[in-house]
């Protein structure tokens, strides 16, 4: 859209006189003066507070003249979504400036060459003539949930309690914190006291995760624990995209729509793809939280740079080295398998793997096998299904039947599930034992291997679960993953968090 520039106001072309010069909003202006007596729209405020929506998104919900009246009263301001300085474009919504991710074309709206961002186009087109709408009137006060704020009545394990105390202190003092918690530590419950405290102080809480399945898993659990609070789940295609809630659980992508919104920002699985690889998602986390917000990192496998920040003392850290059920993490067993690719190419299941699988099939232990890529996974699936009558399936990221197959595995309808690294996180199969085929492959990084090993022994009735890394040569990642898990078990033992340690005394 084009506007008439009547500084500090922008008059939309629909309301301009014919002889006025039309222009695009190309710079951020100082705020228009606020008319305190203006009868502003409460619903528009709750839509826009803490957000950065494109004008196109707002006009699907409100008529342009309502938006314009709020602008004239100083409650709404505009800024460009694409900033072009020295012909180098930058997207102010997703914060990227890679020239290959912009494109320009003659535009029927602004009658000029119009540049747009291809990176965040899935969330609506940010372009030279599409401004961002910002609320600059008084903020909506966050309401207080009714008591009891936290309706969860479970008990925390000792390590969970320690994490929980640290979290409450970090929120009180507005400091950052890394919670380094092993797989199966019970991360969600550790957050409850901290969130309860934040809500009691009318602070807005966000849990951000790179993965949609984590959002889907967390929303019902938090709704149940905080039954008098509003909880919104945001992911691509979710319903309550524009809702305003006390607790927001969002994929990192959806944070592109927020600005200075959250007092407490909890980033779950900071090391997971794509967040770890995508600088603009990291910036989205930065921009969506308030400047003085508490920033909490939560991970079983924080990456090297976060670990280093913790070591230097820049980022306070609490290590939760024991699982909720207080049994040690299963330590992976490395096993030489030779040239497994050649075996599979010759239509033979590598013998060590075959033995390992047969043993478990005969003892009716559910099996999860990680394979480094889809072609080998499919070949192995064929070989296995011709050599056993047990029910076997395979899943990968693009697989449309992925959800069903994972559910079948949960329901014990499958004896063996082959998977790519897609299932390295977030899944729990009771009593499962885990094999990694080709653990030396590059895709199996230290954190991937630690997460994979973390699939085993999660249930207190089956805390031991074997984990075997079948490899054709050791890698640094294999050794580091082993050391990592061993270190966590030692730490837990030292802190007296393990059951076996108690028995010994």
């Amino acid at each position: 859209m084009r506007f008439v520039d009547q500084s500090p106001y922008w008059i939309p072309q629909d309301f301009a006189h014919e002889n006025h010069r039309l222009t695009r909003i190309s710079e951020t202006r100082e705020l228009p003066p606020l008319n305190i007596d203006f009868p502003f729209s409460e619903s528009l405020r709750s839509l826009l507070s803490g957000r950065q929506l494109l004008l196109d998104e707002v006009t699907t919900l409100y008529p342009l003249d309502v938006i314009h009246q709020h602008h004239l009263a100083g409650f709404i301001t505009y800024e460009p979504s694409i900033l072009s300085s020295n012909s180098k474009p930058r997207c102010l919504r997703c914060h990227q400036q890679d020239p290959t991710l912009f494109f320009s074309h003659p535009c029927a709206r602004c009658k000029e060459e119009c540049t747009y961002c291809r990176k965040c186009i899935n969330m609506g087109k940010a372009s030279s003539c599409t401004p961002i709408v910002l609320w600059c009137g008084p903020e909506a006060p966050l309401s207080l949930p009714t008591e009891p704020i936290l309706s969860w009545e479970g008990t925390l394990s000792k390590p969970q309690h320690e994490a929980s105390m640290n979290l409450v202190a970090a929120i009180k003092n507005k400091t950052s914190l890394l919670i380094w918690a092993v797989c199966g530590a019970g991360k969600t419950e550790m957050l409850f006291s901290g969130i309860e405290y934040a809500l009691s102080k009318r602070l807005r809480v966000c849990i951000a995760t790179p993965r949609t399945d984590v959002v889907l898993e967390l929303v019902p659990r938090l709704k149940q624990a905080f039954s008098s609070s509003t909880v919104a789940g945001l992911y691509g295609g979710s319903e309550d995209r524009f809702g305003s809630a006390m607790i927001t659980i969002s994929t990192t992508h959806q944070l592109y729509r927020y600005r200075h919104a959250f007092d407490v920002m909890i980033v779950d699985e900071v090391d997971a793809f794509p967040y770890s690889m995508d600088e603009s998602l990291q910036k989205a986390v930065e921009h969506s939280r308030k400047k003085d917000a508490t920033l909490i990192y939560l991970s079983a496998t924080p990456n090297k740079s976060i670990q280093a920040a913790a070591k230097r003392g820049e980022l306070p850290m609490v290590a939760i080295s024991a699982r909720y059920h207080a049994h040690p993490l299963p330590e992976p067993v490395p096993k030489w398998i030779g040239n497994w690719k050649k075996s599979i190419d010759r239509k033979r299941i590598p013998i060590p793997l075959q033995k390992w699988i047969i043993h478990r099939l005969t003892n009716q232990i559910p099996i999860l096998v990680f394979v480094p890529n889809i072609p080998y996974m499919e070949r192995l699936e064929k070989l296995l299904s011709t050599s056993t009558t047990a029910k076997i399936a395979a899943v990968h990221a693009e697989d449309p039947g992925r959800k069903e197959r994972v559910q079948q595995m949960r329901d014990n309808q499958l004896a063996l599930l082959l998977t790519t690294t897609i299932l390295e996180r977030g899944v729990t199969f009771k009593g499962v034992e885990v094999a990694v085929l080709g653990a030396e492959e590059e895709i199996f990084t230290e954190s991937a291997l630690v997460q994979i090993a973390g699939r085993a022994g999660r249930n207190k009735d089956f805390p031991k679960g074997n984990v075997t890394f079948f490899h054709h040569g050791y890698t640094k990642a294999i050794l580091e993953a082993q050391a990592h898990i061993r270190q966590m078990n030692l730490d837990a033992k030292k802190k007296g968090w393990l059951l076996t340690a108690k028995k010994g005394t």
Partner: protein
């Protein structure tokens, strides 16, 4: 009335899931760059076409054009470096993709002639993104033939 007004149509691709996804990105996400994917194939096919004098893109109605910010058919031609002449105007109607097949076939002709180009005796190549029932192209061809165009062929990306 619209029978035989279109001499022939050729399409680059059968309409399938992959093409559907690309066209969706181009038209509804408004990602102009997608149009460049088809540039080479369009040029190849157009070289094998019977001779023509003018390329005419199927236009959008004004409201739709403003919504989308560009006409996807012009974007396709623009990226393929194919010069074109905008001879047609179109009344805004219900979105084609929201109509049933029957509704599409029995709608009134939304096209009218703009442009001062002398049509009589000219051979026209119409361009559109998709050929579904052919009604849009036949309506456009009818309008052109009514103004004494000699031949009207068409090319679309998908069918």
């Amino acid at each position: 009335m619209y029978h035989n007004v279109l001499d022939q149509n050729r399409s680059l691709y059968m309409y399938n899931e992959a093409l559907k996804e690309l066209i969706k990105r181009l038209k509804y996400q408004r990602d102009w760059k997608i149009a460049s994917c088809f540039a080479d194939e369009m040029n190849k096919m157009i070289r094998e076409f019977p001779a023509y004098d003018l390329i005419v893109p199927i236009p959008l109605g004004n409201r739709r054009l403003h919504e989308r910010g560009f006409n996807q058919t012009e974007a396709l031609l623009y990226e393929a470096n194919l010069p074109f002449t905008s001879l047609l105007a179109r009344k805004d109607g219900e979105k084609q993709s929201k109509k049933s097949k029957k509704e599409r076939i029995h709608t009134e002709n939304p096209f009218s002639l703009v442009g001062k180009e002398e049509l009589p005796g000219k051979k026209i190549l119409l361009i559109d993104d998709l050929y579904t029932t052919g009604t849009t192209l036949r309506h456009a061809a009818y309008t052109l033939k009514n103004a004494e165009a000699k031949a009207v062929n068409s090319m679309t990306i998908g069918r």
